[in-house]
């Protein structure tokens, strides 16, 4: 008998008998659904709506060394199937985070993926050092930050600078804690940045961060955001994200990928998995539906079961497989059907 589950919506359903475990970079997660950085704070708010320890992991909002006010408002503009944000990494700083937020996540039984962001290589190093001996399960390095020592050029936009951050973080990192580089899609060739990060020691890649966008308010005739430009997220960017996951999977067949970008449903998540993601993050969808991550987990499990998978991991990169390998288990289902002989043969 499969287990019955009750969701915040009141829905009760039989969880399909499918092994949702995903293992990468030497770590095993009970399922492949994570929150996305900047869309779940440090987990406490979402825990009001569902048990966040049921997720594969909670990716925190990017933490910096010092407390940060973020930018002026307006910080947000809704766009077709998406939104633009320019928050400016508002946050309490790493010390307050380590004192309050990380212990809370650990006590709650959640697997904490700590996102870190810095303005220099030295800041990334110091942040990583502070994570030694803590309850961190994984580190996601937000490299979509301007390098103050290089005229504000964004680390993620060049293979050399992206690799330099990852190398510094990897050297400072606690043993056994995977380091994921979060890549920006605003580059000419995302695979070359991916390759540079892996060569520099990244254990995996988070794909993708937001795309740089802009909205002009036609009433005020000024940019809608105080920060002028902002990061575009939501289902509007999903095809871009799936393409990036696909390209990186082709270029780097073995690198673990945490896929994200506009995932709203289990089928959206499945697209990323088929394209090559070992796990996925639900981000902007949370703003419209605070229980979205757990709903996506349920929907993904059902979608996999409907397609004949018994293990989540069998679906990873499935879209890359040649047609003759596309039925992973059991005989051809058509071959199982017993036809009534009197109904006549097919031509």
């Amino acid at each position: 008998m499969s287990e019955l589950v009750r969701r915040p919506s009141g829905e009760v359903f039989a969880r399909p008998e499918i092994d949702m475990t995903t293992r990468f970079a030497g770590v095993s997660f009970p399922n492949p659904v994570f929150t996305a950085s900047g869309c779940a704070a440090a987990g406490q708010e979402l825990d009001q709506f569902f048990d966040i320890s049921e997720l594969g992991g909670v990716v925190t909002k990017s933490i910096m060394l010092s407390p940060r006010s973020g930018r002026a408002t307006p910080r947000m503009a809704e766009t077709p199937s998406g939104m633009l944000n320019s928050i400016g990494l508002q946050g309490p700083g790493i010390d307050a985070f380590l004192e309050k937020d990380l212990p809370w996540l650990a006590a709650r039984g959640a697997r904490a993926v700590v996102s870190i962001a810095g303005g220099s290589i030295d800041e990334y190093t110091k942040l990583t050092q502070k994570l030694r001996g803590t309850a961190v399960s994984m580190i996601e390095v937000n490299i979509s930050c301007p390098n103050v020592e290089d005229r504000g050029h964004v680390f993620a936009c060049e293979p050399r600078t992206a690799g330099a951050v990852i190398q510094a973080v990897k050297r400072a990192a606690p043993t056994g804690v995977p380091i994921f580089a979060k890549l920006s899609p605003d580059v000419t060739d995302i695979t070359s940045v991916a390759q540079a990060c892996v060569s520099a020691g990244a254990d995996g890649l988070s794909v993708i961060n937001t795309l740089l966008g802009m909205v002009i308010d036609t009433n005020t005739m000024r940019p809608a955001l105080a920060g002028v430009t902002g990061g575009l997220s939501g289902p509007a960017i999903r095809p871009v994200a799936v393409r990036c996951v696909w390209q990186i999977r082709q270029a780097l067949p073995d690198v673990p990928i945490l896929g994200m970008g506009g995932i709203r449903t289990g089928l959206d998540a499945l697209e990323f998995v088929l394209a090559g993601a070992n796990a996925i993050s639900v981000g902007t969808a949370v703003f419209g539906d605070p229980s979205a991550p757990i709903r996506v987990l349920d929907e993904l499990a059902r979608a996999l079961a409907e397609r004949g998978f018994r293990r989540f991991e069998d679906a990873i990169s499935f879209a890359h497989k040649p047609p003759e390998q596309r039925l992973p288990q059991g005989p051809d289902p058509v071959g199982d059907v017993l036809y009534d002989e009197e109904s006549g043969p097919l031509t």
């Binding site: 944000n85 320019s86 928050i87 303005g119 703003f287 539906d289």
Partner: protein, 289 residues
């Protein structure tokens, strides 16, 4: 603690320039206090292109009855989200999250309270007035709007309160002008102990300033543009002075929407004061979304 529920439209009606919608919201009504808000999914969920909820102050609440608990909201059509909402009909389903935010704090003593509502900002003040009256408070109302059809709740305010004054920018109802034009004389007359206000930011600023000059505690319910309403997106922030005297960008959805008027740095909304904790203006490093 908020709940996420499948709600249902019980009724929708036009009130002047606004729409008033009563929603069956199981489990929400009994948790709601005046000042709380509800975040409503628009566009029907699924593949809608509108991802973000719309937040509305909760007006009337009925925690039992034929339909179970109901909450009522009052809104104006501002954009495609509210236009979609205004087109809903009884029995339509809506995904609701609430009650959200911090409600109005109530005085422990039977004090004299002045309530100031701008436009449909009077909606959360009406249930507040009823509770204040139950506690033996004197309640006086000032309702203001641009035009007569943008006033809301005058009849109810009149019934609950000791006095009710109206102002309109164009003079189509009550005194021509702003609420801040009639408020000083009212405060002189009633010797009000506390002020409560809800409405546009400019009005809240003017009311807070009047209260500060007179040394009257003032609570305001702010309306900031927000993406999530539950405290995770950090878009609805405004600069507020804390108990330690330091200014921080606080979330209107979680630390608010009800704030102490004298703690809000009204002139700095939409900018970044250099002395805010962790100011990007002061910091040497920066960036990222």
């Amino acid at each position: 603690m908020p709940v996420q529920v499948q709600g249902e439209v019980l009724s929708i009606r036009r009130v002047g320039a606004y729409h008033s919608m009563t929603l069956v919201a199981p489990g929400m009504a009994e948790l709601t206090r005046p000042g709380h808000f509800v975040a409503v999914q628009v566009g029907g969920g699924g593949e809608t292109s509108m991802l973000l909820r719309r937040a509305f102050a909760i007006y009337d609440v009925k925690d039992r009855g034929l339909y179970g608990g109901t909450v009522e909201i009052v809104f104006a059509v501002h954009g495609k989200g509210t236009a979609w909402l205004a087109a809903r009909r009884p029995a339509d389903k809506l995904d609701l999250v609430g009650p959200l935010g911090k409600p109005f704090r109530l005085p422990a003593q039977p004090v004299t309270a002045t309530l100031v509502g701008g436009g449909y900002g009077s909606a959360p003040l009406l249930p507040l007035a009823a509770i204040l009256r139950e506690r033996g408070c004197r309640v006086d109302f000032v309702l203001g709007a641009a035009t007569a059809d943008r006033l809301f709740g005058q009849l109810e305010a009149k019934r609950i309160a000791t006095s009710m004054e109206e102002t309109t920018d164009d003079g189509t109802r009550g005194t021509q002008g702003r609420v801040s034009d009639v408020l000083p004389a009212l405060l002189d007359r009633t010797d009000s102990d506390v002020l409560y206000a809800c409405g546009p930011m400019a009005m809240l600023k003017a009311v807070s300033e009047l209260a500060r000059v007179r040394g009257i505690p003032c609570q305001v319910a702010v309306e900031e543009s927000m993406a999530c309403g539950i405290g995770v997106c950090m878009t609805c922030v405004l600069p507020v002075i804390g108990d330690d005297g330091l200014t921080r960008m606080v979330r209107a959805c979680v630390e608010g929407p009800v704030l102490q008027g004298d703690r809000v740095r009204w002139d700095d909304i939409g900018s970044l004061p250099a002395d805010v904790v962790g100011s990007l203006n002061a910091a040497s490093t920066g960036g990222g979304h």
